[in-house]
Symmetry: D4
Subunit: 222 residues, 8 copies
């Protein structure tokens, strides 16, 4: 039995996703090697559609940039976009709100995702419920949005408050910000799932990409 070698397989891109679903592919980099990431980037080179690389570290970003000149790395949000310029915005406006400074990376990931998927997006930070006047000071902005993404860790109370003030839907993003009984985001996740105000739905902990994606779908042009 000479020459036996273990079975080999390779990752294949979902090339028809943009055609089938209308939104570009996203490649989740966490847990991928630099080599795997580079190979995937090379495979998208000939397509002219927007492609996002999420949860990308510095190494992933460099590998993508070598294969895809013109790609742009947003280090804070760990997001690489190609091409680096987003499309002209169309559809309604997305507003992203976050409760604390530590929630900013997730909020930025949501905002940039919505922007690269073709929506106008504004981001407002540091509007926690412990200082209500800060939320109330942005009511005009909030009421003009087609959809509001609310990012919060710890008590996760902000989405309930915001949803009670506006008529647009709220996409809530719990974050892993906090300690002790925050349990890595379980506390704000449960808070948001139990919002006493209707009009709130929830994505996974720290899932800024997912929130930005569904916000872009909700605010899509008719």
């Amino acid at each position: 039995m000479a020459d036996w070698s273990p079975p080999e397989v390779f990752a294949r891109l979902d090339h028809d996703r943009a055609g089938r679903r209308g939104y570009p592919e996203a490649i989740y980099c966490a847990g991928k090697t630099v080599e795997q990431t580079a190979a995937l980037a090379a495979a998208v080179r000939d397509r002219r559609e927007v492609t996002l690389f999420t949860r990308a570290g510095e190494d992933h970003a460099e590998a993508v940039s070598r294969e895809l000149p013109g790609a742009r790395y947003h280090a804070d949000a760990r997001l690489v976009a190609w091409p680096g310029e987003p499309p002209e915005p169309a559809g309604g406006r997305v507003v992203v709100l976050c409760a604390g400074t530590s929630d900013l990376p997730v909020a930025r990931e949501a905002c940039l995702t919505a922007r690269y998927l073709g929506r106008d997006c504004a981001l407002v930070a540091d509007v926690g419920v412990a200082g209500l006047h800060r939320v109330l000071g942005h009511l005009d902005l909030l009421r003009a949005a087609r959809v509001v993404v609310v990012v919060a860790g710890m008590d996760g109370a902000l989405p309930s408050v915001v949803a009670g003030l506006i008529s647009a839907p709220v996409i809530a993003v719990p974050t892993s910000v906090g300690y002790g009984a925050a349990f890595g985001g379980i506390a704000p996740l449960l808070t948001m799932l139990n919002s006493c105000a209707p009009g709130v739905s929830v994505v996974n902990i720290d899932n800024g990409y997912g929130a930005g994606h569904i916000a872009a779908q909700i605010a899509a042009p008719a």
Copy 2:
């Protein structure tokens, strides 16, 4: 120290909610007595906006009907609506999908809520992922929707499959249908929060009302 009596307080309706948020009030009946429910129904009698009574048992429904002639009870969905006729539909279409027969009460609650909030709504049942052809047989209906509500218990796998097939956002509703390691809906809740397809956000377990409400907001006329 004569005449001491314990402090008394009464529930007050959020009378300006429809004005502030654009959607009618909903009264959550679970845990309320028949008397409390009747008092709340009497208080809404002079308003001409749609009011919903959710999680209403037979007793709650009778109490509401006595105070609000013309109210309609949808027993399966445990929902009382007043007035009983929904408004003319406007905006985009909501499609509600459910995986199994046992998920129907929650699916109906979602569908009726969206309908009473002014949207056109279709409901398709028994399209679990164990028989993929049943999902694929409804692709035209799904692709024409402005938003799809997917209701599933047990493995909660349906939203991932549906979101991979369409460009509209998916609101996922885990149900408490199942046993053992379904843990009263925790299993499908986690499945849905971890959907490998983007475009899914999630409401509380068995929260058909919440899903119908946010679906109506998403499908609202521009």
Copy 3:
């Protein structure tokens, strides 16, 4: 080996508790038989201090009243107090707030406990964060309190909001009101433990008695 009989023991009251701690004894009735409750009530008959019977059903209340004429049963709060009239209030004022109608029994238990332990107490209901104007409409009352007890189920967001508005300490009481991912009060418990506003500490789920007790201690006369 004739006449063997199993060992018998009886519950004994902590007779010197009021002397040692300055607050009356409370007897937790849940899980006690009517006979056990009656025996305990008979044992307190000769003492002239306030005694509370918590989590008391109708049967417990009747048993206590037979042994302790003048006892008063507050059915909603499941509390029997003896004597039925609370002492003249002394010390600072306790304000109890609750988010929804279904939280009222717990809120009342807290309020009555504080009252029977010698404090003045006010109770305000239905001030959930989904309608912020309702909270803001009570600011004067809240800011005049020595301590505020905040009772909430579901998202449990109210204590964070209240603590951000006042300088007095907040005792937060999560309730088991809600369904699905509220997990019998775990969701609001975690929210409250993770309050982004300082000045909040938390008691057990549905523990109105405990909240009223510590509130009375905080507001005790100097």
Copy 4:
């Protein structure tokens, strides 16, 4: 579409917090970069009120000291205070107790917080319930306190014992000290929430700051 750049936002301090609530701002440093911390420190330079920087590592502390000369770093408690001298004590006395040596950092954070918020504070360590005589040896100190903060990991049994001995309220702080089924502080958290002695309320795991803050509020001068 030239010149597109992602949205930028900055953290803003809650400048009116001291006026609104009567207590100084605290800046939570965990998860903040040195640069963010320095920027926040620079922003508080012109105010003369006490400001606390919690969960501050060596790097955070140096950044703050550069911007705020006179700041003092308490490394064990990971707390930076500015100005470094606390105000003259007023109001009642806070006593902080901790069960084991490993609980000291949290106990110190509680004690220092109360002290910088204007209270007199004493700290007693190593009084675990496995050696009851050590608790009983401090009864005079405990009974003279306006409020007692009890810090414990592992079995978290100390607050129940202490609350049974005194008339002042107890603020319990579970710590993450322990292993195995201590589950990072869940075990003592649950113990404390279920205290069989009334007069105990609980803050988040390892939340010395929160305990010191509410203790300062409870012991505030009338």
Copy 5:
């Protein structure tokens, strides 16, 4: 394919258990029908060793008594013993302590089990840690025991306190007494597993039988 019938099996007693292990068989009645219980009782009739039926309701007890005249039902402990008289005590003494009145059924089950397995046993109730003097008042009894079984719900703090006072081993039994964050006994279970005093080991929630059994083994004559 005539005459197919489903496979039938019957429960068989572990007849050689007493010989192999030195302790009598126990039959767990919860979830067994009256018929199954009666059949098992009939099967033990010819043996002259002590047999225990645990978690036995009234119906189970009657079924056993019909088959095994002389059996004795201890209703509070839900225990049927046959023969009804325990053997002459031998070995060291077992002391069972319980924190509250509601823990008595479990404490009695432990005490009776140890007694029927041949040990002398004393039971002391209502010695919760909220009133330390009640524990300290029994020190002589505790220090004379070969092993102490400590039964407690809620905060489960009693075993830590007792183990710190004596040299004998402590078997801790958490009970499901409590509410809210007691989580059906999880809170005292964790407390006991994390006892800061050495010399404590733990059995399942409400497992009075198991505690009494191992206590009897520990106190067995040399």
Copy 6:
């Protein structure tokens, strides 16, 4: 807007399942009304393949029997089979083992399912690991099986022991038998997932049907 009526949907059978997968349909009756069950039974009347109704109570069974004469109800296993006679056995033999008498209903459901799906099946009860000789006494039977289904609650230790003794695969079924820290079957579920012996895979708690089904697939004729 006359004549509005809520959308109606009906459950549809997966009629081509037997063709597609080679095994008959099973209808899960828990949570279905008698009417729904009867309608589903009527729909299968014209097909001549085996159909199973699982988790069927007496009412469900009667409804099925009215529509499908010749159906057979196995009350203990809550299973209705139609037709009542199973097919001639083919393929390898399935052996089902259960640890205690209380696990019998689940074990029977597994055994009957395998039998109705066309396999020969033997069932052995009361072979818990506390009496190893009982397991070892069945070694010949176990070693002749093509697959062994092991059903156990409480400690769930039996599958590890069995898998260490044989070369055939083991399908482990945790049951909800037990109390306290058995947590409704979580304890044996985890035990089985962590089996130190290879050759074990696990189905849901109390899922006798699922175990019998996959056992039938494993033992299918080549």
Copy 7:
């Protein structure tokens, strides 16, 4: 008391395992030192049966290779096999499917294990349910398998979909791939245990070895 030394023990191989069970021994390297691993490898040198070393890092692999020339290290799967060439395949075919690229190491471990235990095995990657056409494109391969191993993290939905399409049994392997509410593999574990399609059983999170082992048993030659 001179010369006391602590008791020493050594790990012993289960030398008769292959004889007793028909499958080779596997040595779990995680948590073992290089020296322990080398000693175990030396002990197997004289046997000519296949031996697997699982969860082996580079250091473990080198230690084994020094003792067992001809051993082969599959770094991605962290598996060392000795001898390095697998036996001629016999029995049915095993097909391993994985949902995403990050699941590949676990999938490879399953595939290689089955291969070294004597089965033919094919591995297909990147067939997540978000792109159903990728699953459906492999139907012929899937339907020709004797058993299919499905490896997936995140939502873990793939086994339900696959089991609905084929008649062979499915062994599902949840992976720790994912973040937030994936909880290190709990989410896909629960999904798989609750599969709405029958014919699925589950092994531990990331347990590629266990899945490959039981798959080899299922596909064993008659």
Copy 8:
């Protein structure tokens, strides 16, 4: 307000513990600095009783040895004993069993603790339930023990098997050995708490010290 300095406290040893309880003090080193450990070691220098330092790393061990010449470090068990020679054994024999090689450090900690507390102790490793003959091969040793400590991770099934074979009590120690659904020791902890064989009680995960301590108490001379 010159010269303010934060309150300082020091850890004090429980000097009368040996007198009060009959067993030496143990100092838990995890989380203590080298300086703290050295200070505690210096404080015990004048006492002639055995003192144990548990969870001691190399650094802790060196610090202790500098202060306490003659101390002995058992690196595998992370235990420092002073004096290094244990006392002459008295009382019954303790036997420690562990399921796998990875459980050895915990097993050794148990064995050494019992030995330093004055008991004779034997340690047997690698007797997992997957190879029953290995357990059965040690029956004579097990049956001669006064108490058996059983250490196991993963499925934690060994204590149930052992307790079914002997008449002595079993102290079960779950370990954090395992992965995935072992959840850091929760799986074997639950298995052991739910042992179907009576005569088992349980200590905390990885708590070899606690197991050895209570074993020494159980086997104490009469």
